[in-house]
Symmetry: C2
Subunit: 387 residues, 2 copies
């Protein structure tokens, strides 16, 4: 009795069943001592008071932590799912960008600790060229038609459509991708064995056959209201861009849009009639200072994500020093730039742990050397960079 | 026989019946020697070869120029119209802005020489708070509904709707304004006695009762194809902003939009369904680098034109040196700024005849002194400036 896990992955799964994602105190503890010792300290009651309060009930009814881990692992396996943790080859590195935007005022923006995935394919590979399509649940026929078409055409062009599995726009987007035989990724606010809403069950079955269901919560987790908002940051962070198709004034889609803009992802929207209440939210987005781009079809989405000239225009790789000849600061900045995403200079400096002044100067040097590019005032890896 | 006009206004009317608006050579001659001597030189054949070629036929069949002037004046009066020329109290000074954007490559952007107006009211006063609403002739029911609503609400808020009198969006905009009892201004490509298209005759009658028909061409002039494009610059220049509601890919409305953007006017559009061919042109506008703003209702149009805070927010006038204490360069820059419009620094410098470097420095000083304001990188007169 009272045996503790000896597998860090199991420890992360256990902690995910006890403390909601994005808890800054737990995540700080994990950063400091790693998952095994974090579990040990929690079970010993040697953690800050708030964290102890959150975990004490779980600890009290789980005398044997290792047994509990094995139960979660068994539930994970029995529904055909698996767990991906940071450092795994199929962990989507772009989730790290959430570190650049989380702060004391909104700790829930922290990256996920681990992800349950259920279905076919490698999450990191699927999301390397991915676009989120989100929107209202109570969507109009027009909106669902647009979502379906856009998802189908993006799929045909080789892009993975990421969405939230909800009714309305999400559902239309997943189905549009599936209809072209493509994979699609549904990021859930519940366990992957019971995707919500149940009425979308047949669609979820198809997603499992062709793509992935993804969740930060273990099997058995129910879709609580706040979890949808927590989940939205993952949809935004996984994808190179987010397209909002129909949204009410206070919809979750606008929340995802805000995350996408914060993360330096490309934020887009499809317009609708000004007379339609379904489009009020997207039209507001267009008037806010978040630089949402109006798109009407897949080519425009791809053009906006990949930059001027579209996906076919690949500049010839410029000759440059190999990575191992970079100075330490240079290497840190290059490594902190997630492939395929653009990042503001201040955030990049923060993520790389480099003072802003030094970052400014170093980035200019890296740009001349062909390692990084400026895109509308933000930085990205130059095409062909394999660092 | 061969008597020449002795009234400069008559001379301008005569020249407008002979040479199309925007002719750089004639306008340069007018700038140099004034209208009376310009007529004299043309009748004497003492003008550059190209201008002589354009005018020789008219001269040949008009032995008595003064008689011809009197005929035009009679035709002007008999249809209840009058002529406004630069310097008249009801001449809209903002037309001068066209001087800032015309160049050798597009001489047709020059300001009109004179305007025939027919109807009620003072053109300058009507256009002081005016918005252009333009769009496709082959408009959808949706587009006409939006134009009608927007024009009605803008009228109710005290703004004059300017448009081109065409079928479709133009017609809906004029009628929306008229339905609220407001004035409206229709800028024509034909003489004001025979507004085109004739099928809009009842609407034009209403416009004459409540507002103004405006034309650069004398009575009798027919609406030739190229005249619509020439006319569009006047619609854009008269108004503080232009709203495009539905446009085909190559519509005249997009041409007006281009003029508005060039002139530093606020360019706006209302979106529509991405599935509608009627909205393709406006959605393209949104993706072009002309910074077209998405608007869905009159409040947003007014907000965009008047700046943050909307029309009700009037900043208290700041104390400042009187106009006659400004240096010559300062005075020239202030005078070159048309009231109610924003202008790019380089254009302002050109219009004021001040070197760009000097303008930059002087404008900063004028800003501190409360004479001018920066608005999204462009200059405008500060509220309350009466210089």
């Amino acid at each position: 009795m009272n045996s503790l896990p000896d597998d860090p992955r199991h420890a992360l799964m256990l902690l995910s069943s006890m403390v909601e994602p994005g808890d800054a105190e737990l995540d700080d503890l994990l950063d400091d001592v790693g998952p095994l010792e974090a579990v040990e300290r929690i079970w010993a009651g040697k953690v800050p008071e708030r964290l102890e309060r959150i975990t004490s009930a779980s600890v009290a009814c789980t005398p044997d932590a290792r047994e509990r881990c094995e139960a979660i692992a068994a539930a994970t396996e029995s529904c055909g799912s698996r767990v991906v943790v940071p450092g795994d080859p199929d962990w989507p590195e772009q989730l790290r960008d959430l570190l650049m935007v989380c702060d004391a005022t909104d700790p829930h923006l922290r990256p996920p600790r681990c992800l349950w995935v259920r279905g076919r394919g490698d999450l990191a590979a699927l999301c390397r060229r991915s676009v989120a399509i989100v929107g209202a649940r109570a969507a109009s026929e027009y909106g669902q038609h647009v979502a379906d078409d856009l998802a189908a055409d993006l799929t045909e062009a080789g892009w993975t459509v990421v969405s939230g599995g909800a009714f309305g726009i999400d559902r239309a987007a997943h189905l549009g991708a599936l209809a072209r035989g493509g994979p699609t990724v549904a990021v859930l606010a519940s366990g992957v064995e019971q995707p919500y809403p149940q009425a979308n069950r047949s669609m979820f079955d198809l997603v499992v056959q062709k793509g992935l269901l993804v969740s930060e919560w273990p099997p058995g987790a129910t879709p609580m209201r706040h979890r949808f908002l927590t989940r939205n940051r993952v949809i935004a962070a996984l994808s190179a861009g987010t397209v909002v198709i129909e949204a009410g004034v206070r919809s979750g889609a606008r929340n995802t849009a805000r995350h996408a803009a914060e993360l330096g992802r490309v934020l887009m929207f499809t317009p609708g009639p000004v007379t339609s209440s379904h489009s009020v939210g997207v039209h507001q987005l267009a008037r806010e200072p978040c630089e949402a781009r109006l798109v009407t079809r897949a080519e425009e989405v791809i053009e906006d994500i990949t930059g001027i000239g579209g996906p076919m225009a690949s500049a010839p790789p410029s000759p440059r020093r190999p990575f191992d000849r970079l100075t330490e600061i240079e290497a840190r900045l290059v490594e902190a730039l997630p492939r395929g995403y653009v990042v503001e200079e201040a955030r990049l400096a923060a993520a790389a742990g480099v003072p802003v002044e030094a970052a400014t100067e170093t980035l200019r040097r890296l740009r001349e050397a062909g390692w990084v590019e400026l895109m509308e005032g933000r930085w990205r890896l130059a095409r062909g960079t394999s660092g």
